[in-house]
Amino acid sequence: MGLSDLNLRVLIPYLPVLGWGALRTLEVSALAIALSFPLGLVGALMRLSDNRFARSIATVYVEVVRNIPLLVVLYILFLVLPLYGIPINALTAGVLGLAINSTAFTIEIIRAGFAAIPAGQYEAARSLGLHRLQMLRLVIVPQVFRIVLPTLGNQIVSVVLGSAVASIIGVSELTYETQSIGSSTFRYFELFTIAALFYIACVQAISLLWRLLTGRAAHAPLGT
């Protein structure tokens, strides 16, 4: 079996199933991103805060979570938590696992964004008499967003692609459906080719949504 045997037509009946899988991939990824980006901002602020307690919590979180494979996080959520009386279904475990993982990376991305803001910006904001929250909201955070947007775009891609791992706990997303169809048709070559195309479409769709949502922020003026 090789390229010459590639027969995409046999998979036409399965396209709707793959389509539903792709939608589930979009759902899981979008939810995980919607959870992890705000949490990432909060975590980054904690990491940079003067409060030692908040700072250590955020630091420990990043260092612990960033060093655990997503797969292991998913297994812990899905198989271990219920043994301790915490019910959690596959979809929730998938979304939470991705969000937990993505939050750690998002904290670091946003922290780097804050670090890139020149000290003069803080001084200028303070000299205008803005209190701390106003300074963050009006001066610093808009600039941070401008700086971190491209990197957050990468993070979005990695969440969408990472959602494939959730297939292992039975979340019926794209990879799950692909493997499921593969196990009865044995058309792995064609299937994974189509799955790859679907993933490209999924990433593009979410990235487009992200650009629409952040269109204005991406063009915020940057101070020096």
Binding site: L79, L81, A90, I168, G182, F186, Y188
Partner: protein, 226 residues
């Protein structure tokens, strides 16, 4: 003993040898020749299914299937290279020529015969449905035939067809192998699991709350022969 489940299909454990596909007997010759030339037979297996195939404390492969593999290699006078994969990966390993043969619980059926060839069956097993003893609402087959009942199966196993036939309304959740289906059952993520009785009925050290009991389900049906 609160009976939970259940035997169905006669499940033949077979050795799948040699992708036939469009090439037929020629491929058979060439793969055997390749193996003899190479001096090594590459065997795709799944693990975690005592007593037929599993890794002992030292990571050494053990079990009935492994014994068959060892005997085969001895008679061919070649060494064995094991390739570990999951239930669904067995056919893919043969198709991509990463493995020469696979030896793992493998029911011969028409669908699979389009892609791979089987030897004569060397073991007959039945499928069982199994649930936790604390699920007293799951007794007869009809109890499982509800859409809110989730049944875990190893992806690519013939359990999917059996469930579609005997409990068509149940929701199937696929995992990569029986270690995961048992773990999901233990964690209460699924209501039942369906697998060969050998894999299901073995005692499980470290099992937490699932005291699994199996009972006959339907009448054994041979779905294939080679």
């Amino acid at each position: 003993m609160r009976g939970i489940l259940v035997g169905v299909l006669a499940l033949m454990l077979a050795v799948a040898v040699l992708p036939v596909g469009d090439r037929g007997a020629h491929a058979a010759d060439s793969i055997l020749t390749d193996v003899l030339h190479r001096g090594t037979v590459r065997i795709a297996i799944t693990t975690g299914a005592p007593p037929t195939r599993f890794e002992d404390e030292n990571g050494t492969l053990q079990g009935y299937d492994i014994d068959i593999a060892t005997l085969l290699a001895k008679q061919l006078a070649v060494t064995i290279e094991y390739i570990k994969t999951d239930t669904a990966g067995r056919v893919a390993m043969l198709q991509t020529k990463k493995a020469d043969i696979t030896i793992a619980s493998f029911t011969p059926n028409l669908e699979r015969l389009k892609s791979v060839g089987f030897t004569d069956p060397y073991l007959t097993d039945v499928l069982t449905l199994m649930s936790r003893t604390d699920r007293k609402d799951l007794g007869s087959l009809a109890d499982f035939n509800r859409s809110e009942v989730k049944i875990a199966i190893a992806r690519g196993s013939t359990a999917a067809k059996a469930i579609a036939t005997y409990a068509p309304k149940a929701t199937i959740v696929e995992f990569s192998g029986n270690a995961d289906t048992i773990a999901a059952l233990d964690a209460g993520q699924v209501d039942a699991m369906c697998s060969g009785a050998w894999a299901a009925a073995r005692g499980r050290p470290g099992s937490r709350r699932t005291d699994r009991v199996t009972a006959p389900w339907g009448s054994p049906i041979s779905i294939c022969g080679c």
